[in-house]
Amino acid sequence: MMNTKKALIGGAAAVGILAAGVVPGLAHHSFAMFDGSQVKVFTGVVTRINPDANHLQIFFAPLDEARQAVLRNDNGEPQIWAVEMNGAAQAAQDGISVNGFPPGTIFSVGLHPLRNGQPGGDRGESALYKCPENTPPAAGEHCWDLPESTSHGDGEIPVEGELEEEYNPDQNG
């Protein structure tokens, strides 16, 4: 009787672990909420990380063109944007984590903006660079223009504007 119970519990555990193993490679939601034809490029200051299991998000205050102060809305409040990428565990492999990107970290990234007009987007295939501590890039430049910056994860240096070929990871299976 005891052996049957052990076998049952062991079997259930094995099935659970096997089932979980096939899940993480898949994206959690469709890319449809983002506009894959547009790219916006930012250099900003981290205000908060949402280390979500499915899609880590970095919330940040974009810096102005002079790279000396944060952009503000009409009410004078700092604008806050969010960039979404792969899950927290995968991002951590690239050094993107709560501890690796504390509030105040200056970084540069490109994103495909949300279609609903909210100030957020998906990183897509953009490179992500972190500036040295408390060292913003020169006016008009980004962290990838500073030799001391560090690169986090794969990606290409993004270019602001409309893409000739729309980015859509959903179509690539």
Partner: protein, 192 residues
């Protein structure tokens, strides 16, 4: 007491960081959370249906409860431990998530419903243990229990679709966006 700092500390704990940054840890923990929850709901549903009078009516209520509730507690322990691990990985986000807050409230009510049943309604169970039709208070307890657990499941799944892009969440840490680079800003002011 600053709750946000408290939850930030949980998030930054070794266990929270381990769960969050270990490949596949969260999906595996989540699987066992669902297994635990399935045990809880599956077993408590049968006990509640006996209380309502729709299932196992030829058997005493006490016997149905005795057979099943031990597995409810096994499932609850599994769900609680895995739930705490998942919470620790991203505590600040869950803390400000309305669906998570409502789920915790529903859990408290499910607990209160159980306590009221055990301490008051079940005191004279001997009188109605073998009856097909239980007293109104017992039927209510069964109905409330099923309703609350369905609500907990709904809210639990809903969390997964509401915890992204929350622009109302407060910034982490003390960041002075008015004076980002200290000395640099001062120089700019002096020059400009």
């Amino acid at each position: 007491m600053d709750f946000y700092s408290f939850f930030a500390a949980i998030e930054n704990s070794a266990i929270g960081t381990f769960v969050r940054e270990t490949l596949n840890a969260l999906p595996i923990i989540n699987v066992f959370h669902v297994v635990g929850l399935s045990l809880v709901f599956g077993t408590i549903f049968m006990v509640d249906m006996r209380l309502i009078g729709l299932q196992s009516v030829s058997r005493p209520v006490s016997r149905v409860a005795q057979d099943l509730l031990k597995w409810t507690w096994v499932g609850f322990a599994l769900a609680a431990v895995t739930g705490l691990l998942m919470f620790a990985a991203n505590a600040t986000t869950f803390y400000v998530n309305l669906q998570f807050q409502l789920k915790m409230v529903a859990l408290v009510f499910a607990g209160l419903n159980m306590v009221v049943f055990e301490l008051i309604t079940a005191r004279n169970m001997a009188h109605w243990d073998n009856e097909r039709r239980t007293p109104p208070a017992a039927r209510f307890a069964g109905f409330a229990s099923i309703s609350l657990w369905v609500l907990i499941i709904v809210l639990g799944r809903w969390i997964g679709y509401t915890k992204g892009f929350n622009f109302s969440a407060p910034p982490a840490g003390d960041l002075d966006l008015d004076n980002l680079f200290g000395a640099i800003s001062l120089v700019q002011t002096a020059v400009g």
